[in-house]
């Protein structure tokens, strides 16, 4: 597979001269890129051992935003957990809701009406577009383009957040899905507004692509940096755009056939080098795929109830049993593992966080690269601390 048609290979970073072997003269400097650091997307700490500028050892330290989400989950009722899932990955609250609702529906075998399934797909794909746009914006911000790409990405994100707010009531914390459907039906005016925003999205992605794809600085700084081998990726449980950028064809929308994704025709973009540039390209192409899914879903959105009338919201006591439901969240495989013992609150409530596990290979990718590249590699992993530390 050619690497996305970029012909001038000589610019591609990965055929660089061998890394400068340290002749052991200089001492090692141990520094903490600590909880308060402009590049760490929140409170994440990396203890880095440097030889000059080269990274010799990198130990991530977590826990600065451990808000005991799972312990609270086990003391609250099933319904009261739903608003807490918004705060897991606070960029994509609707996919968190969907993953939790899916796990509970698997626990009790609850069906979801057609219109709710379509609304879930539409909202999940909108979330994916605004998450990927923000991620690329932050990646460029860390590369030095301070502000401009992030401003463009957030201008688009604001439009999508307006849609979320007019439907669910809150910009970021939607608390919209229930076990067996969605809380509020989408009015025809909202559908019309969504169509208008979705119609504007391809122009935004084209503009972003013209803006960034062949930018020499981006290529020089991203190609060949932070390479992740496919077998190490699969063995380390990596999921999402990072896994697909290493060339592994594994997208849970195609593997698990959850929701109604089988009705939509969409492709899964794959990279072949597994470096930062491939992750950037996979996210750009995934945005295009999401836009095509959105168009298909908006075209044949059926009428009908949004909530299964038999579904219980309050006083919900599933019978004893356990269930593991997972979806393809924008950051990877987001799973909820619930063990129920018949009482109104779950016996064990476990969140499988994609960002937390994608960081397993951070050290393998960063060894031998410069400190400035560590910031980029960390940005390309795309983590959110609310989900990492739960």
């Amino acid at each position: 597979m050619s690497s996305f048609g970029i012909k001038n290979e000589k610019l591609a970073g990965w055929n660089r001269p061998p890394v400068f072997e340290s002749d052991g003269e200089g001492e090692l400097l141990e520094v903490a890129m600590g909880p308060h650091h402009p590049s760490t997307h929140g409170v994440f700490r990396m203890d880095v051992v440097l030889d000059g500028e080269r990274v010799i050892k990198l130990k991530p330290v977590f826990g600065y935003l451990h808000r005991n989400h799972e312990q609270l989950g086990q003391t609250q009722s099933y319904l009261a957990n739903m608003p807490y899932t918004d705060r897991l990955d606070y960029f994509c609250s609707l996919t968190n809701n969907w993953a939790y609702a899916l796990a509970v529906e698997k626990l009790v075998g609850q069906e979801v009406p057609e219109r709710a399934e379509y609304l879930r797909v539409i909202l999940a794909e909108l979330t994916r577009v605004q998450n990927h746009a923000s991620t690329i914006g932050f990646l460029l911000q860390e590369m030095g383009a301070s502000g401009t790409p992030l401003m463009y990405a957030f201008r688009e994100r604001e439009k999508i957040l307006d849609l979320f707010e007019s439907l669910t009531g809150s910009r970021m914390m939607c608390n919209y899905m229930r076990f067996g459907g969605c809380r509020v039906d989408a009015s025809p005016a909202w559908i019309e507004a969504t169509r208008k925003v979705v119609a504007g999205l391809p122009a935004f992605v084209d503009e972003f692509e013209r803006f960034l794809m062949t930018n020499e600085i981006l290529m020089a700084r991203c190609q060949g940096i932070g390479v992740l081998r496919p077998d190490l990726a699969v063995n380390s449980g990596i999921s999402g755009p990072m896994l697909r950028a290493s060339g592994v064809n594994y997208d849970i929308r195609k593997v698990d056939h959850y929701g109604i994704y089988d009705r939509f025709k969409f492709r899964v973009p794959l990279g072949d080098h597994g470096d930062i540039y491939d992750r950037y390209m996979v996210r750009m192409l995934e945005m295009r795929e999401s836009i095509s899914i959105l168009n298909q879903a908006l075209k044949d959105l059926p009428a009908g109830p949004v909530m299964d009338p038999k579904a219980k919201i309050r006083n919900f006591r599933p019978k004893a049993g356990e269930s593991y439901g997972r979806i393809e969240a924008p950051k990877g495989e987001l799973g909820f593992y619930l063990i129920s013992d018949g009482s109104p609150n779950p016996y064990r409530y476990r969140v499988r966080p994609p960002s937390f596990i994608n960081l397993t290979v951070l050290e393998d990718m960063c060894l031998g690269s410069n400190v400035a590249d560590v910031v980029l590699i960390f940005g390309s992993v795309d983590i959110v601390l609310g989900e990492v530390d739960r």
Binding site: P83, E165, S166, S170, M173
Partner: protein, 278 residues
């Protein structure tokens, strides 16, 4: 040649810069204090208590059933039942909350209290200018600060409010129809058998909900029926802190007897949504 990628990027930003003088769509900045974005209809920030009529004390729809207090995820609602009763919008004497505090420094504005409230008593407000420097005084809203009139509710959520009013009016009509029917039946019985020994049923004409009434499951506060039956949930009395009494006066027998009927689960019809901001 080497630099064309960067030039293309610069062309892109130049286009946007030039465009911002021409097309309105590129001017995204909203100068907040002077120029405000119209909040979409479903926007929610903090809850408020709805009251009918003009006197907020009398018109409060809340009957202190404490369901929202139990269901609130961060547990930031505190309700103390009143000892006496006041007639509610149908005229049936109901308990009202003597104290109804919401600690908005804990509230996560998730509107679960609105979803589970069977009496349309609590709705979500859209006021967000609440920055203050006094944590305990300023951020603990009591009953008086939470109460807003029904007209205000119509202002901020027009479609939802009108729908709620329609539902309440229809319930009121149904209850009156029942009451009238029960009154005529009682009058007919009194006329037909003036010496009838069975007194009319309890003063409160307890209308039979059309849905088959299964006896409420005992134990924890059972779910409230959306059916027109006026019902209060029998919830275990809550010890009042600090006052040293072991608990509020036990609920009057009549409330205990009000068996609520666990009706169909879906407590709310889907609310139609107003059109979003253009």
């Amino acid at each position: 040649m080497l630099g064309d990628g960067i030039l293309k990027g610069l062309a892109e930003t130049a286009k946007n810069f030039a465009g911002s003088f021409v097309s309105k769509e590129r001017m995204t900045t909203v100068e907040y204090p002077e120029e405000r974005l119209p909040l979409p209809e479903a926007a929610r920030n903090f809850p408020f208590l709805v009251y009918d009529g003009d006197d907020w004390e009398k018109g409060l729809r809340c009957v202190a059933c404490q369901i929202c207090e139990k269901e609130c995820p961060p547990k930031c609602i505190y309700i103390e039942k009143s000892k006496d009763k006041k007639p509610d919008y149908v005229g049936k004497p109901q308990i009202y909350p003597a104290k109804f505090d919401i600690d908005i420094s804990v509230c996560m504005s998730c509107q679960i209290c609105v979803e589970v409230c069977p009496f349309e008593a609590i709705k979500m407000n859209t006021e967000f200018e609440l920055a203050t420097d006094d944590r305990f005084g300023g951020l603990l809203l009591d009953r008086k600060q939470l109460a807003r009139s029904n007209e205000y509710y119509h202002e901020i959520h027009p479609t939802e409010a009108s729908e709620v009013d329609a539902r309440l009016a229809e319930e009121k009509a149904k209850v009156e129809a029942k009451a009238k029917a029960a009154a005529e039946a009682a009058a007919a019985k009194a006329a037909a058998a003036p010496s009838a020994n069975t007194p009319a049923s309890a003063a409160v004409a307890k209308p039979q909900a059309p849905v088959e009434a299964k006896p409420a499951t005992a134990g924890k506060a059972a779910e409230i029926a959306k059916a027109p039956a006026m019902a209060t949930a029998a919830s275990e009395p809550k010890p009042v802190p600090g006052t040293g009494t072991d608990g509020p006066a036990p609920l009057t027998a009549e409330d205990q007897k009000n068996a609520e009927t666990p009706a169909k689960a879906n407590a709310r019809e889907p609310k139609a949504q107003g059109e979003p901001k253009e």
